[in-house]
Symmetry: C2
Subunit: 304 residues, 2 copies
């Protein structure tokens, strides 16, 4: 049996019957905007104004949260550990509890950031589910969320909250926005609004979904697509200075930045391995060899 206390959540039930939406934050302990956004939702959601039920989890991974780190004391990444195990390590137990919560829900939204080490452009994502009805619902949810990039990626990635949702046939999206060692008020408000828009798109609220321009809407079914940490990693350890900004367009071979030695006498230029749009940048300057530096959304992956 699990030795963990139950997941700390708030359940708000609307006055009319309807579906059960689960909203997760803090899968990673150093991602703060989702936590604040979900607490904001707890104050915004009035039972008279929606139908169905919303379960809100501001801080899923409390052991990681209390370390100010991505992972808990067993150093397992919760977003690679689903569905977990009831008798496993602390992260495996949290994954197991969260999987049961996901299985009890009709829809899932999982909110993230780049964590303390990085900055991500605002985007929503989903897996290219084999069931066309679930896939279409996920597209609707991701578009309604209202961020400038919508990204559908392979359904074969394992270990994530979205994998548990996929296996339970629960339509699910995730979102990414920002990062760093503070809590950005714009992302907090934007995330809270995005969740309300998804509820409107799902018929849980009577508000219309605002028209919000999507700058890039990409589906990419290649193996490993959507695994942010795979490309453009550091060839050497050192001090990374990016030469690009989020949402810049880059060509394969363009300079993404440099890594230098302590005295600045050894400088390694980092070249893009892909063509597309910059979705993520490592911002914490010291980077170890093989850690990721830049995430590029390939806007024309059919050419590769």
């Amino acid at each position: 049996m699990s030795s963990l206390p139950p997941i700390e959540s708030t359940v708000i039930t609307g006055q009319q019957p309807g579906p059960h939406l689960l909203i997760l934050g803090g899968v990673h302990g150093d991602e703060y905007e989702p936590m604040a956004a979900i607490r904001k939702l707890i104050t915004l959601l009035k039972p008279a104004e929606f139908s169905g039920k919303v379960t809100l989890v501001p801080v899923l991974n409390q052991p990681a949260y209390e370390r100010c780190q991505r992972c808990g004391p067993d150093d397992l990444d919760l977003a690679r550990t689903f569905p977990g195990a009831p008798d496993g390590s602390i992260t495996e137990q949290i994954a197991h509890q969260a999987t049961q919560l996901i299985q009890s829900a009709d829809y899932l939204i999982d909110l993230h950031t780049g964590g303390v080490i990085s900055d991500l452009a605002p985007f929503s994502g989903y897996c290219l589910h084999s069931d066309p009805a679930i896939l279409e619902t996920q597209r609707t949810m991701a578009r309604a969320f209202g961020l400038p990039v919508v990204w559908g990626t392979t359904a074969t990635l394992e270990g994530r909250s979205l994998s548990a949702a996929r296996d339970a046939n629960v339509p699910a999206i995730y979102a990414e926005w920002g990062g760093g060692s503070q809590c950005n008020a714009t992302a907090v408000s934007g995330y809270a609004a995005g969740c309300l828009h998804v509820m409107s798109a799902l018929g849980m609220r009577n508000e219309p979904v605002p028209e919000q321009p999507i700058q890039y809407e990409i589906e990419d079914n290649r193996d490993q697509s959507g695994h942010l940490q795979l490309h453009n990693s550091a060839p050497v350890s050192g001090f990374f200075e990016p030469a690009i900004q989020l949402m810049d367009t880059v060509q394969a071979g363009d300079t993404l930045g440099t890594i230098c030695s302590p005295l600045g006498d050894e400088i390694t230029s980092i070249k893009a391995s892909q063509t597309g749009v910059v979705l993520g940048i490592r911002t914490l300057p010291y980077v170890k060899q093989n850690e990721w530096l830049v995430v590029i959304l390939e806007t024309d992956h059919s050419a590769s």
Copy 2:
């Protein structure tokens, strides 16, 4: 004997004779702007354009730097460990080597930031040295640096680079600016320029020192003054949301922010313990009980 390699430094010697200035960065491993600023100085300093000698150390605390943390693997704070010991732990050995370097210099500038967890307003500081000539030189250096706040504090704090300089009668200042998990280009340029201005004030360069308005110039000789972590600490652990900004003026009793529980159902209001100007704010949201939240420069400490 020390088992550490020697401190990595670059020495640039001017074409004319003159004093020896030591510039330190990376006393804390997660303070990035000083490292980049000192590397920038290495490229800017032309022997034909100054007299004397400059020793530049971008990353003094390399073991902490490679952990992306304030402290190295022995968890000793290098800025509390001077003068160190040649046969001590890794941080004590670095402090010992750095003390020898300070003793070899005529002047010291030690550059800092708030580290990953916090944000500091730009200021320069010095100790209220018992030797009036050294004190006056330190005032001159701190004013020339060109930041909006100049702060003279007690000479009795121990363990710091400035303590080692004090004991060696080497005029010394430190500076603080920014923080967070990125490298701010404005602070990098400002720090490099500040060091050049100090060299001008010391007669090592022929450039005039620019007139730069100082907003607050405070001397405070009370016990422990200048120890940033002493006041306005967290009464409970939790998610800190500051309600003030850097350089705001506050009265004792004003609200500095809140600390809340994961679900937001327990909220603790944080009140200022002092009257003055906000010089530093904890920005990493999760804070443990008793960790510092806000640094206030007391603008009228004579009243207390």
